[in-house]
Symmetry: C2
Subunit: 213 residues, 2 copies
DNA sequence: GGCATCTGTTAACGCTCATTAACCGAGCGC
DNA sequence: GCGCTCGGTTAATGAGCGTTAACAGATGCC
């Protein structure tokens, strides 16, 4: 079985492929109960087929997870790179580039909560080669942020900037931990809040501590 | 450091019990490869006994995870409550109470990275009753923070304060995601950095956005 | 009309793995 | 010395689950 249509051409049609259906449901289930916690029969049932029928679309359960994780980290990176490039081309100052990165990440965090969760929960379940790939994409994405942060805070050590970027990812990725919707502000309010918090954290990177008492 | 002289029957000696050995190694392994990803034989091997010998100390694999998660969320909560009480008794202003909570959480995040990881990764694997207990402890801990944050930012909506607290937890708990040590600042530098970032984020809760562009 | 491909189905296989059974030496109270 | 509990051991059990086999109904090409 070869990849018949692995690269879906940008036809732009809203028709959700069976493959895509499966990926979406698998992401949801994996995020809810963990990769090992959900059986192939459940995934099948979630899209109306049952059990081994999935093997007509994927080489195995691992392959689904791999595609999800490579997909999310790839989109995060390319999306971030695009935003940085566009901002740079428009001659935007570093601070605006940072805004662009933050807003882009917030969109991911709010729209793809399941994937954000999987992204750092199930990395260990991947085959070595896939894990290397995902790690590489993650590293490149972090690097985008670190460069911008270092422009804004030239006095900060690189290792501090990197740790701060990771910390801000933790902050932005916190939404999945909030209980059922209703406990959290509406999408726009939440986005605005996360934006303020992230900026507040990163602004605190610069000035030397001024330790209180 | 705190002596974890948890009330164990007929113990009381500073010697590390077999039970405690097992819990520590299990925590490390669970954090590394996930609850389902590590077998009972591996846990046994990590403490020098093999396989089913663990059942002389625990009712089962689930029981180990339950004890770990209940333990960490319990210690987080009681530690936080103690700090708040002490600060209040000393007549400290809300801002200082917040400092105490932040520093306490940072100690946990830096000293018990494995447990912090498990804490929100494997909650779903618990039996219903244990999960309820852990959730309750978590909720009470969050409430400690929310109260203090609301004193500092009376104008913020409660739902915003709660979301901000979750976000700051994400920020503070980000250290496990940093690669091997060496890539991150030393323990004291890291603590100071996290402290500044968390304060920066929470300070940004207050003022109305003043949205740039 | 025939046949190949695509997408399903159900049944069977095989492996992993938590748990239990059965057994055993070492202390130790008496 | 006797017997009881503790903390181990290895072998067996049994369930769950990913995967593969074998088969079948459309669909469409020639």
């Amino acid at each position: 079985m070869k990849d018949a249509a692995a690269a879906r051409p940008s036809a732009g049609l809203p028709a959700p492929t069976r493959r895509e259906q499966i990926l979406r449901e698998a992401a949801r289930l994996f995020a809810e109960r963990g990769f090992h916690g959900v059986g192939v029969d459940e995934i099948g049932a979630a899209v109306g087929i049952s059990g081994p029928g999935l093997y007509r679309h994927f080489a195995g359960k691992d392959a689904m997870l791999a595609e999800l994780l490579v997909g999310i980290s790839g989109r995060l990176f390319t999306g971030g790179r695009r935003r940085v490039a566009e901002a740079a081309e428009a001659g935007a100052p570093p601070r605006e580039v940072l805004y662009a990165l933050i807003d882009g990440h917030i969109d991911f965090a709010l729209d793809d909560r399941a994937l954000i969760t999987l992204h750092d929960r199930e990395l260990g379940q991947l085959r070595d080669s896939d894990r290397k790939l995902v790690r590489s994409l993650q590293r490149q994405y972090v690097e985008l942020w670190v460069e911008v942060v270092r422009e804004l805070h030239p006095r900060a050590l690189e290792v501090e900037a990197r740790a701060a970027v990771h910390a801000v990812f933790g902050l932005l990725n916190s939404t999945p931990h909030l209980g059922r919707p209703g406990a959290l502000p509406g999408r726009e309010a939440m986005a605005a809040l996360l934006r303020r918090l992230a900026l507040g954290a990163l602004d605190a990177l610069g000035p030397s501590p001024l330790l209180e008492d």
